[in-house]
């Protein structure tokens, strides 16, 4: 009898990380590497009239759009973002050129001497430049609204959030003959490779991407590094010397992608027995200056517009509008944190208007196995939300505390959120776009190498994948190796995003390991390649948002107890509880880490992390201005799991990485709302906004 796979093991990279031996990109030494820095747009919106670069000393170079041999567009979805601006400048800090040379101080002084003449164009910050407009329906929402007993309508707003990985963005590269190698702090080696191929217009074997240790990412290193990779590759292609492009924190905060601010209008039809019969929503995302991944973020948000509930009639619209501000992009949750915040608050507010208990109202509408999803797909697996909620209420003593705090009226409140996350790419993305492939190789000493492009950025994938292989093959962990991904050696198993790595890639790795197991011969080398095949029941029409958006869903309940300071309006998290269904944990301690880290980011999104863009510029310049939680901001967190194995995942595992962030903001916002007896509509709920709410807010 084998041990339960969930029992934790010593993570394979613990020692190298604790001792400081792990090599991150800035620790990689390449003899003679030049230093590169980006000259950026000093204006928010305009046209380049002329650029005068000072005379460059020997060994110094300027690299701009004229040096791009292929397409001057970063391959993301629509390749709309230039690698280097040519004429039009669309945001403050947009890259124009690189100055490259041996001395950092000289490079910086050359940058300071560049003279840029521009013609200003009136910047756009409103919704006048709509890039994406989606709409879908389920049932017959028009009828439902026209025959509704009551109609409710509220608007919710969410702010920016910065990923704030502790290791800033960075990349270093070199050339050998006509081949360029880039080593970078990245989530998606093949995204960078494919972007560089388009930029250089060269063949696949001429570009190699290697991932070293990555110091956190959270989506921030999903698409952004493709831009840096293209710039660096173009520079190396021109100069033929190794070059280092590492951001400092201020530059990183100023110009890298952030979570999309959203305005979400929600409207609901309720019938005479207080049932929600229809929901209509309008989700508006500020994409920033370029589209990037914004349309995919929008679709993930739209698909979750009914939250964890089954509502028979749905009318959902969404837009992405472009503004002259820093481009927004991937961030853990990818549209879900915005929409779950809105839905959870909305149902809470409807229940309060109806004079009924918000949790009872929500539980009455919970999605069940066999129900149609918002996009008329089917929830095929058992949904254990009732068990999750029951357990969360027990361990938190939610009902009693809620009642007690309400009666005491001492600025203390409980909040609860119910949510899910669709695991893997939306719709048929895995089959039509990603086409993941994994490879296992066994040598004659029976050591097994895992050859996949999945990046360990802290979420422990090197350990969990190794565990899956060791467990399936019945061999010790130390016979399994997971080298850092290198596109010269690993197939494209897809990007490390969308809570897909354990379920999709891990599922393929388990299948490959099973094949290897079934034909195992001691001392004989063997290679197994496994290709993703989409389950045939998944049918998705991207144009109409109709069908199964995801193969599986992970579910969660968060509860938090907060107090608000009477004088300063500071929020203190008193305690938090979570219960999740993520199928099956591949490693309990890794999941605990995801749960605690995720909810901490989620709470902070709701009340602490405040980023403003005023007149086209990010006002928070560094980690002093942009406050992320410190050890003193945390509270005791209790996390429990309820197993609910999914047939498509390895050992029943589903996605876990993003789920744990999604419920934090609605739970904390609701707890603050209950503490101050005022309706909360916008996050983050900062002390300033609490002061205003207490003064002017609605009960």
């Amino acid at each position: 009898m084998q041990k339960d796979i969930s029992i934790s093991v010593n993570k394979i990279d613990n020692y190298e990380k604790i001792s400081g031996c792990a090599k991150y990109v800035n620790d990689v030494q390449i003899e003679g590497a030049l230093y590169a820095k980006t000259f950026r747009s000093p204006i928010i919106s305009g046209e380049i009239v002329s650029i005068t670069v000072p005379k460059l000393p020997d060994g110094y170079f300027a690299v701009d759009y004229r040096d791009v041999p292929g397409k001057n567009g970063v391959k993301i979805i629509k390749d709309d973002m230039p690698i280097f601006a040519e004429k039009i400048l669309r945001y403050f800090g947009e890259p124009i050129l690189l100055i490259v040379g041996p001395q950092k101080s000289v490079v910086q002084s050359l940058i300071n001497k560049i003279i840029l003449e521009t013609k200003l164009i009136e910047p756009i910050y409103d919704e006048s430049n709509i890039a994406i407009n989606y709409h879908y329906e389920k049932g017959n929402p028009q009828n439902a609204f026209s025959s509704a007993n009551r109609i409710f309508e509220y608007t919710y707003q969410t702010g920016y959030q910065e990923q704030a990985y502790i290791e800033p963005q960075g990349m270093i590269g070199y050339s050998e003959g006509d081949k360029i190698t880039l080593i970078g702090s990245i989530q998606c080696p093949y995204y960078v490779k494919n972007a560089v191929l388009l930029a250089l217009g060269c063949s696949s074997e001429q570009v190699r991407i290697i991932q070293p240790a990555v110091g956190g990412a959270f989506g921030g290193k999903e698409e952004f590094p493709s831009l840096m990779g293209c710039q660096l590759a173009v520079a190396i292609n021109k100069i033929h010397k190794p070059i280092r492009l590492i951001y400092e924190r201020e530059e990183d905060i100023e110009v890298t992608t952030k979570r999309h601010p959203a305005i979400i209008r929600m409207k609901a039809a309720v019938d005479s027995d207080n049932s929600l019969v229809a929901i209509s929503s309008d989700i508006r995302l500020d994409g920033g200056a370029y589209l990037g991944l914004s349309n995919v973020v929008l679709s993930r948000a739209m698909i979750a517009t009914t939250g964890a509930y089954t509502i028979p009639n749905v009318d959902c619209s969404g837009i992405v509008y472009l503004t002259n501000t820093v481009p927004n992009g991937a961030f853990r949750g990818f549209g879900a944190p915005q929409i779950f915040y809105a839905v959870e608050m909305f149902l809470n507010h409807i229940a309060k208007d109806l004079g009924i208990d918000p949790l009872d109202f929500k539980m009455k509408h919970l999605a069940k196995q066999g129900d149609l999803t918002s996009t008329s797909g089917t929830f095929r697996d058992p949904i254990l939300m009732n068990d999750l909620i029951k357990r969360a209420l027990e361990i938190s003593d939610y009902r009693r505390k809620s009642q007690k705090y309400k009666l005491e009226n001492q600025l203390r409140g409980m909040g609860i959120s119910l949510f899910f996350h669709g695991c893997g790419f939306t719709g048929s993305g895995e089959a039509t776009i990603i086409k993941a492939q994994v490879k296992l190789h066994k040598d004659e000493q029976d050591n097994v190498d895992i050859l996949i492009a999945a990046v360990d950025m802290g979420q422990g994938v090197r350990t969990t994948m190794s565990k899956i292989v060791a467990h399936t093959l019945g061999i010790p962990m130390d016979k399994v190796r997971f080298p850092y991904p290198d596109t010269d050696f690993v197939p494209d198993s897809g990007p490390t995003v969308a809570s897909r790595t354990t379920m999709i890639v891990g599922g393929l790795v388990a299948k490959a390991a099973q094949k290897m197991h079934d034909r195992w011969q001691n001392g004989v080398a063997d290679t197994v390649i496994e290709q993703y095949v989409q389950p045939d029941y998944i049918v998705w029409d991207e144009a109409t948002f109709h069908g199964d958006a995801y193969p599986a869903y992970s579910w969660g309940v968060n509860i938090v107890d907060v107090s608000v300071d009477k004088v300063t309006n500071q929020v203190t998290l008193e305690e938090a509880w979570s219960v999740y269904d993520l199928g099956k944990a591949i490693d309990d301690l890794v999941i605990k880490g995801q749960a605690e880290g995720g909810i901490t980011q989620g709470f902070a999104y709701g009340y602490l992390e405040n980023m403003e863009v005023k007149n086209g510029k990010v006002r928070q310049k560094n980690m002093t201005d942009y406050i992320i939680p410190t050890a003193l901001d945390t509270t005791k967190i209790t996390t429990e799991l309820i197993d609910n194995p999914h047939a498509g995942g390895p050992y029943g595992a589903k996605g876990a990485g993003e789920l744990t962030l999604i419920g934090g903001a609605p739970a904390v916002a609701m707890a603050i709302e209950n503490a101050i007896f005022r309706r909360v509509h916008n996050i983050p709920v900062t002390p300033e906004s609490i002061m205003e709410l207490i003064e002017y807010g609605n009960r």
């Binding site: 604790i18 400081g20 620790d27 290791e167 110091g215």
Partner: protein, 157 residues
């Protein structure tokens, strides 16, 4: 340019350099010790922490001139000690490590705390860690690791 003498990882060293250079750059570039990391460059994140005369210091804010005559210990040297082994095992056991970028700084912070206070309370640990940012863990697992290290390393500090 000036000459600065100090002790780095128990070895006397001499650096001839601009006095305004950051200790961070001197250690990482001149001595090729890459265990300390630059996360913010402004003393907020603690990833660049070293011990100077047994006090935790952000090396990004410390200029070379100020290190004259002092004793600097980096993670590389500390990693050779028994106390490190205890901390390492506690961090591994409690799941205190995710991306690892803040971890060497967290280890230095742990040593600095336990050196002064071998039996810290939970709040004392949180205060001691408040100059070290971690974006992955939410901190509790690091706090638990330090409690575990204090227990397992009884008598070492």
């Amino acid at each position: 340019m000036a000459i600065v003498k100090f002790t780095l990882n128990h070895q006397p060293v001499t650096v001839q350099s601009d006095l305004n250079r950051r200790l961070l750059d001197v250690i990482r570039n001149d001595f090729n010790l890459k265990g300390l990391k630059e996360g913010c460059g402004e003393g907020e994140c603690g990833a660049c922490a070293v011990l100077i005369n047994h006090e935790i210091v952000n090396s990004c804010l410390f200029v070379l001139a100020n290190v004259e005559g002092k004793e600097v210990i980096t993670i590389e040297e500390f990693a050779k000690t028994k106390r490190f082994t205890v901390i390492k095992e506690a961090f591994a056991k409690m799941g205190a490590v995710q991306c690892g970028f803040c971890t060497p700084g967290m280890v230095i912070a742990t040593e600095s705390l336990l050196h002064k206070n071998p039996h810290p309370t939970e709040m004392e640990i949180k205060v001691a860690l408040s100059g070290n940012l971690c974006r992955c863990t939410g901190y509790n697992m690091i706090v638990e690791a330090i409690q575990e290290a204090a227990k397992a390393g009884e008598g070492l500090w």
